[in-house]
């Protein structure tokens, strides 16, 4: 889902505890928008206030468990897989997502910051959560995002000489270039159906 300005005022918050929690966290950290779909709380913060927002969430919302950090590439140029739903209208950007959760109850939130593609940087979370170090190194090599202030932003998984950022949507999957995946192209139709569907059985 893309961020839409109407996210904040979508439904009544009283019925859904996740929405209520999202609203509370969003007001605590001064978020731009929030959403709570499929029990997944999403709080959108500006990248300038990224570190402060997460520190506030840890100290004041009780979200002290650093679960993970990663990124999401919203791109019109999709080399493999399926494009986004309305690819034409899509705004090219990265979303950096960090998930914090509580260890007292099940409450948790995804903090999302939008990072423009022509200037992909965001401040490093390492001073707040030391455990973010590896996650940021992974996101940096996979998406090409610069985490400012990271003590050691070297490649984590990939060889040092590797070029490119594999998890970007524009990055081709070489094995697919050589040989298309049989599951996607030449599945034999089931006799009773009219469509490619053998994936399920």
């Amino acid at each position: 889902m893309t961020d839409s300005p109407s996210e904040a005022d979508r439904e009544d918050t009283a019925a859904d505890p996740h929405a209520a929690f999202a609203e509370r966290v969003a007001s605590l950290v001064g978020a731009d928008a929030w959403a709570a779909e499929h029990e997944t709380v999403r709080v959108v913060v500006r990248r300038e206030s990224w570190v402060d927002a997460l520190r506030t969430a840890r100290d004041e919302a009780g979200l002290e468990f650093f679960s993970w950090l990663s990124a999401l590439d919203w791109s019109r140029d999709v080399a493999v897989g399926e494009p986004a739903a309305d690819a034409e209208a899509l705004e090219e950007r990265f979303e950096v997502i960090a998930r914090l959760s509580s260890v007292a109850d099940a409450s948790a939130a995804h903090f999302v910051a939008t990072v423009p593609k022509d200037d992909p940087w965001i401040d490093s979370l390492v001073p707040v959560f030391a455990g973010a170090g590896w996650h940021e190194r992974e996101a940096a090599e996979m998406f090409g995002i610069d985490f400012r202030g990271h003590p050691n932003l070297t490649k984590l998984y990939l060889p040092d000489s590797f070029e490119g950022h594999p998890l970007r949507k524009s990055y081709p999957l070489l094995s697919r270039e050589v040989k298309p995946w049989p599951g996607m192209v030449d599945v034999e139709d089931m006799p009773s159906t009219d469509n490619v569907e053998a994936d399920q059985a």
Binding site: V80, G81, R99, G131, W181, P191, N195, D199, A201
Partner: protein
């Protein structure tokens, strides 16, 4: 592996003796082929004699790029990928993924399927912890517990194989249930697939055996003075560090945090089951061991209760034959044997996910290594690393 010929190093230090005793640090490459790195982890350690001054883990030797691969596979195909992440508990890896897809599609598996999922997840937990019970004493030098633990693990794997057909990679979950009742590729001839005959009784018997081997392990390992001397007070992870580095599962609970997703969230019907969350007090290696041993017992309890109250009914909810997941985002996490395993699925309405972020427990559990191994002795390095119980497939994904 030699950067500086040890003989040269010795001569250098010999030469320095007359003026001033100088002991240059040595860089020791532990791994990627090393008995205690569980696969292909490499640690670059700067050692001063027996003392490790700093450690830089090098991972990625087994990076398979599952997050990218998932973007070009349909949801059903991805299930076969995800059970290869943490291969010692393959079944448990499938659970959060299928439930995330189910959530996005707004379907729910029938109750019997959920119970089967729960029983097999706990079996995967037992088998994973039994591997820890065998490999951890082995890393400290005791070889006998290995055989006892592996014997019972084999029983569990046979049960899992009986139900799913796979010992390690069950690929048994489907969106909306477990292996569908109608199969065989024909609409007229329906195969009824259910648990194999006698499975529930066999599971009961196996749990008795598992509880017995837990007692054996208590005798062999827990009370062993040398084992205690090697683990008590070694590798202490305080609560705040555990949370900061995202340690989860038994590693987190050993540090005194009584948080278990099986109690906190109910993606599987754990709410009707009576079990406890074992926690440690000091967060040392011994606590991490003892928490896992207690978890085996609790898992056996869960299975004993679950086989008694498993309802009958269908195994598969109605789902469209071509899985198209409505646009949306969902993150579902589950308490895996290694800790919190979660999948963040972003769907754009197609047959393949737009993005799948895999949160694997071992990755975060291992990221504490540079902090925790600083200024430890080489033998403690092995003891601490082993006590974190990681699987390289779960680290590298």
């Amino acid at each position: 592996m030699t950067q500086l010929d040890p003989r040269v190093a010795m001569h250098l230090s010999d030469a320095a003796v007359s003026v001033e005793l100088e002991t240059p640090d040595m860089t020791l490459n532990i791994g990627p082929q090393h008995p205690s790195t569980h696969g292909v982890l490499r640690l670059v350690a700067r050692v001063d004699g027996e003392r490790v001054e700093a450690v830089e883990p090098v991972i990625g030797y087994m990076h398979r790029g599952y997050e990218k691969l998932a973007e070009v596979r349909t949801y059903a195909q991805t299930i076969a990928l995800v059970n290869r992440i943490d291969w010692v508990s393959g079944f448990a890896n499938e659970i959060p993924f299928v439930i995330a897809v189910e959530k996005l599609m707004d379907v729910e598996a029938p109750e019997r399927a959920q119970y089967i999922r729960m029983i097999l997840t706990e079996m995967a937990r037992i088998s994973s912890h039994l591997i820890f019970m065998s490999s951890y004493p082995l890393e400290l030098g005791a070889a006998t517990p290995l055989m006892h633990a592996f014997r019972e693990r084999e029983r569990i794997l046979e049960l899992i194989e009986g139900v799913t057909g796979g010992r390690f990679h069950p690929n048994f979950n489907r969106v909306g249930g477990v292996k569908p009742a109608a199969g065989g590729g024909s609409a007229t001839k329906k195969l009824i697939q259910d648990l194999p005959a006698g499975f529930l009784q066999q599971a009961r018997d196996a749990m008795d055996k598992v509880l017995t081997v837990c007692d054996d392990l208590d005798d062999l390992v827990t009370g062993n003075e040398v084992f205690q001397a090697r683990t008590i007070g070694v590798g202490v992870v305080p609560r705040d560090k555990a949370l900061e580095y995202g340690l989860s599962g038994p590693n987190l609970r050993a540090s005194g945090v009584g948080f278990d997703l099986r109690k906190a969230e109910h993606i599987l019907p754990y709410d009707g089951i009576d079990f406890e969350i074992p926690t440690g007090e000091n967060g040392d290696c011994f606590d991490r061991y003892i928490v896992r041993l207690a978890e085996i017992r609790q898992a056996a309890r869960i299975i004993q209760q679950a086989v008694d109250r498993i309802p009958s009914g269908p195994l598969q909810a109605k789902v469209p034959r071509v899985l198209k997941v409505p646009p949306g985002q969902a993150y579902v996490r589950a308490e895996n044997p290694k800790g919190e395993m979660g999948y963040y699925i972003v769907s754009e309405g197609g047959r393949v996910p737009y993005r799948v972020k895999i949160r694997s427990a071992s990755f975060s559990n291992l990221s504490i290594l540079p902090w925790i191994l600083e200024n430890q002795l080489i033998p403690d390095l092995v003891a601490i690393m082993g006590s974190l119980d990681f699987v390289l497939g779960d680290v590298d994904r």
